[in-house]
Symmetry: C2
Amino acid sequence: MINIEDSIFNVLKTCLSRYEQDFLPLHAPIFQGNEWAYVKECIDTTWVSSVGKFVDRFEQDISDFTHVKHTVATVNGTAALHMCLHVAGVQAGEEVLTPALTFVATTNSISYCQAIPHFVDSNQHTLGVDAKKLADYLADITEIKQGVCYNKHTQRPIRALIIMHVFGHPVELDEILAICQKYNITLIEDAAEALGSYYKGQHVGHHGLLSTLSFNGNKVITTGGGGAILTNDTKLAQRVKHLTTTAKVPHSWEFNHDEVAYNYRLPNINAALGCAQLEQLDDFLVKKRQLADTYQHAFKDIKGVSCIIEPKNTKSNYWLNALCLDSNNLMLRDKILKITNEQGIMTRPIWTLQNKLPMYKECPSMSLDTALLLEKCIINIPSSVM
Amino acid sequence: MINIEDSIFNVLKTCLSRYEQDFLPLHAPIFQGNEWAYVKECIDTTWVSSVGKFVDRFEQDISDFTHVKHTVATVNGTAALHMCLHVAGVQAGEEVLTPALTFVATTNSISYCQAIPHFVDSNQHTLGVDAKKLADYLADITEIKQGVCYNKHTQRPIRALIIMHVFGHPVELDEILAICQKYNITLIEDAAEALGSYYKGQHVGHHGLLSTLSFNGNKVITTGGGGAILTNDTKLAQRVKHLTTTAKVPHSWEFNHDEVAYNYRLPNINAALGCAQLEQLDDFLVKKRQLADTYQHAFKDIKGVSCIIEPKNTKSNYWLNALCLDSNNLMLRDKILKITNEQGIMTRPIWTLQNKLPMYKECPSMSLDTALLLEKCIINIPSSVM
């Protein structure tokens, strides 16, 4: 009888045979549209840098796609997260709730505000912040004083909650927003992985006061490096634009800047790539769903492992497909990672829990039972668009 | 008799007639080399993002050009400055000496470390930090305690000095380095504008413990947006590379990060542009000198105004040419800016002194007599390579 690790390898090999490639990356970009034409236009016109028509167009195109009113393009997703927390008013020494199970950029963005990450547990279906556990936890550890939510144990204000739509699967947005409203905590959506993901029929990014996207090379669409801030709040959008462009006061020639600000602009040449990519997004999403279907069908009868599927009431972009090992097979994770990677099928575990990283070890945290389990059982598998 | 403002306008028009353009920008990039070939290679191979051969090559090419041992490419010059101060050990609440006469990015980078800018005056020939004034000032206001230089008035440590090579003209590096050594202050060179500038026959960037470049669209060469950190210190170079790439600990698949770090990577597609631009830099520098010569020759006999020329012992890249109004003609500055800009010749004043910006008004400062004069008398004129 064939063992689980070999049967997983064989199924992956079969599912991926149509790529006809010796090495299968986890997620490679694909450029089959107007990428060359738009980038060449930047070079030919010399508008490659901090202003140019593609930045404006890319921002408008993202808003048109997500139906979030305002988009501000940024140099990457990390910069976008930093700006969201900054304009949300997160102050030094305050706490920001954030999933333990996320990429380190989410957590670092809190540090950039000299604020303190406070880790929360995940839901085993959404892989993101668990609404029920969050509600119970906040009821237990917080008190509201003059409208501000305080951590009773540390006496620090809890100013914001970042949620992250892991692998593109939306979290329980309605429930989580209700909790934030009850406790007067600002909700920020880290939708870095979730362009093209829907919650109850609406694109993600509408529940957060501000939300972020990433266009890193491994994302659904790429600008080389890049990100964006989305918000339905016009004043906040203007403020974010001002702060990401050195807070320069408009004038024909004078260099006046009215607050400490940032150079977080997306260059026009990167935005040009993004405009071309965005034209193909609908097609990418169809193909990503097809690959997810292929995996789900192929792994249906394989014992000891299952595919992560989109949560109820959502339509995921299936950015990264993931396998979940049954609880009695967790010891196989590293063996499977080794076999697949050695044979040219790139696989990855999910991120190390943030509270285990040396710089975040001392941060406050709720008990992280589900996140700990997910850390042990998840294996990401190749998910590029064909 | 023709007035000064009209004669300046006429001379500019004559000097710039060979561009045969209706609108003359201050500094536009020029792409006549392998830009398209290299960028296309990125798109064809899909290596557009955070790793790729052009990033490595660009870093090596910059080191080969400047002879500074190590180069780490960054997402822009602001990020580069922030990282220099960070790895130089600048702590919250410490002071960093910095010219009042600089672009706001220099000053903001100090704020990102929660440190306090402390403004110093400029030299009327170099336009950068004045060595003599700095020496006198430090002798007056500092005391050394256990090897650390303290501001006697604020009781705060003075940890670093940033110097900026304004418009590409190198400051008095030997004298300034000697002062830094005497007071145990770390020297950082902001060479954003000075790629291709030499001090006593050596490229700038060797005197600072760390130095920075910018490849913004208006610089001598451009990557769209981009920057670099230069250092001859191998350990610091490794640390900067680690910190600008999320401090990920190398592993075949695990996501471990060992300190709070940044996503300050230059994308490969931007580096590709930079590699092509760098191949043309020698030619650009020759042409920039020719234009500087043209201006200097043409303005020689114009009363009331002179050209800023490279300081003694230096060879400037003449990134931006600048006129200097005589002290009795300062009231003409805005009139000249208006006339030229209205007629398609883009001109600019130098930056507003940093201590006048609202967020930096309360910062410590020496008397800024020369900087105040330079602020009033300088007008930058079109300086693109033809």
